[in-house]
Subunit: 351 residues, 2 copies
DNA sequence: TTTATTTACGCAATCGTTCCCGGTAACGTT
DNA sequence: AACGTTACCGGGAACGATTGCGTAAATAAA
């Protein structure tokens, strides 16, 4: 089944002109007389002519489409980011091709090849948690493909990046827990190699140190797939629960980890926050409905998508190679609800 | 910034062959000697040749990409559907361009024009709740564009469709409420003109009738934007609460409506299910964590996306115009949790 | 009136690929 | 020896649009 479109040739034939004249008339060239222009424009309008974007892409060596790779779109953070990406892209006449790595390195590489073979003009990426080897991205970048990283970035690759202040998000959340009387605070993080994991864990540890709390190494747990598989959360939570000293609160450092941890705690008949305090990164819009209402660190996902796309379009449309790159850092938002309120101990005054 | 790719011409020049020969060698034509083939294939591999899909699209008058229009990807049902769509599309070498109507007719039309102007080979659509005028889809379909509707379908347009048994979903949920002692059951639905709304409301009313419960016209409420705007849910819930006879349970007929209604009930300090029973359509993966755990009617979203894409690819790749169309209907899944359990009245035995 | 300039348009190449025609060997058949 | 096959390969026209260059006619300048 095909879908016959009207071409510039049809107009030329119908009006007894050459295709060049029609093309120039449509582009409002000074070389075309006003009468001819009027004639062409009116006829084009009448038969509903639209230039074939594929022919244009071939000629101009650009497709006006950008690729996006995230771990999964069913994650609120990413779907909100994509909203931001699309809003800017569409405004500038670009379309967006989305693909999901599902935290798998292999799928990320496949998607990468797929997208580049589809002649995209640029790429926005939040890397998969599995990925250790960034040579594919690096090579692509070196060959001139504009890339912007957001959320999970790659430090070694010199290009624009958009992140939130992950250190501060984890730091502030940990401080809140401490100042509310929690002392044995554990952290459950995504894959250890991710940029966001490193920054968040650093913030967590700094908050402990700044409050004179000795760090318990066994309290930092990592999930290789970021909680995409529930069993990996189950494992680390049970490890935490079966230690000599149990934590009295958990800091979950990822969207899936936050709800996943709560799920496991509930399955173990633990009451939050009475038996275990909980605070976590989340962009879900149902966290306030959850029992107990979740305390969260929320990211400005939509804005991150917008900014990343703005930066990418700058790279794409730049005449000269860009050598100066920037890393935009936005502020996370700490929202306190029931899950992080300590009802047993007295809150401790800020010190 | 551009990204220089190697073409068939480069291979031809390097090997002293014509482009035709190279092209044929790459496509494994019988007209090319095994030695030449080997030469070409090895060299192509070496310099990492990939055919330019844009040139191919121009030649073959197809882009190997399909468009998707849904109301919003941040909705679990749609993001899961898109997962299904992508899995089949990628498997068949198609890419997917997603766009969101946000329940707005205007944005739907814009997206439609955008997608068709980008030369997509086919379209998968769940229509916006605002849309009354389907002439754009109809015209496109008449001009030969393969379209598959899913979830919110358009009966008047003759093409493949994928839905769940919305009637039964609402019927079974209503029966459950009745058989558990609820009597004054209200329904909050999406826009009245949507196919899913009609079917679900019909199921709801049939269940009431089958149990000899007189229908209260004031108990059927509609939200023009399907709950995308919280205030519209707020309005209908307050209408329900301020009536002479208050409902004792609410059936929410949409993803956003289910969580939205709970949100409003909580804001009004009503306990679910003690003050008000609640059951609703939802594909969110946190419904069991919510207070109270939500009873839901869940759709096989992923499968729906898969099936819709299978059907679309059949249409696209069919040599002859297709005249026989089918409507695939899948079964919804009723999951009973706390929010629909009647603790005051005695359950009524099945009759 | 002749020459220069402007105006308005067409020709043809180009982007990367495929594919319809041809064409030329080498070989086999009578 | 003359012809038909077969095996291989190249030329060039598409696909739809843009654009540098050439040029005829119309106008202006000499």
């Amino acid at each position: 089944m095909k879908f016959e479109a009207v071409t510039i040739k049809d107009i030329a034939k119908a009006l007894g002109l050459s295709t060049s004249t029609v093309s120039r008339a449509l582009r409002d060239s000074y070389e075309i007389s006003p009468e001819t222009k009027k004639l062409v424009l009116e006829y084009a309008e009448k038969i509903n002519y639209h230039p074939n974007p594929i022919a244009l892409s071939l000629k101009e060596r650009r497709s006006r489409s950008i690729g996006v790779i995230v771990s999964e779109i069913a994650n609120s953070f990413f779907s909100q980011s994509i909203d931001g990406i699309e809003s800017i892209a569409y405004k500038n006449g670009y379309n967006v091709i989305i693909s999901q790595s599902r935290e798998s390195f292999e799928r990320e590489v496949i998607n990468l090849h797929y997208l580049t073979s589809r002649s995209i003009d640029g790429l926005i990426v939040s890397v998969a948690s599995e990925t250790k080897d960034f040579s594919n991205f690096k090579e692509l970048n070196d060959r001139g493909m504009p890339i912007v990283f957001f959320d999970r970035i790659v430090h070694d690759i010199n290009t624009h990046k958009v992140i939130i202040d992950n250190y501060r998000g984890a730091y502030d959340a940990t401080c809140y827990l401490i100042e509310n009387g929690f002392r044995q605070i554990a952290a459950i993080a995504n894959n250890e190699i991710l940029s966001i994991t490193k920054d968040r864990i650093a913030g967590y540890k700094a908050a402990l140190a700044d409050h004179g709390i000795k760090e318990n190494e066994a309290f930092s747990k990592y999930c290789a797939h970021g909680g995409l598989i529930l069993s990996e959360i189950e494992l680390v939570v049970s490890e935490l629960l079966n230690q000599e000293t149990r934590p009295d609160a958990i800091l979950a450092l990822g969207d899936k980890l936050t709800t996943g941890t709560l799920r496991i705690l509930k399955a173990n008949d633990l009451k939050v926050p009475d038996d275990m305090g909980l605070i976590g990164f989340s962009n879900s819009d149902t966290t306030e409905l959850i029992e107990p209402p979740l305390s969260i660190i929320k990211q400005p996902a939509f804005e991150m998508g917008e900014i990343a796309t703005d930066l990418l379009l700058q790279l794409i449309e730049s005449k000269r190679p860009v050598t100066e790159f920037e890393t935009k850092m936005l502020a996370p938002q700490l929202i306190i609800r029931e899950s992080a309120k300590n009802k047993k101990n007295k809150p401790i005054p800020l010190g």
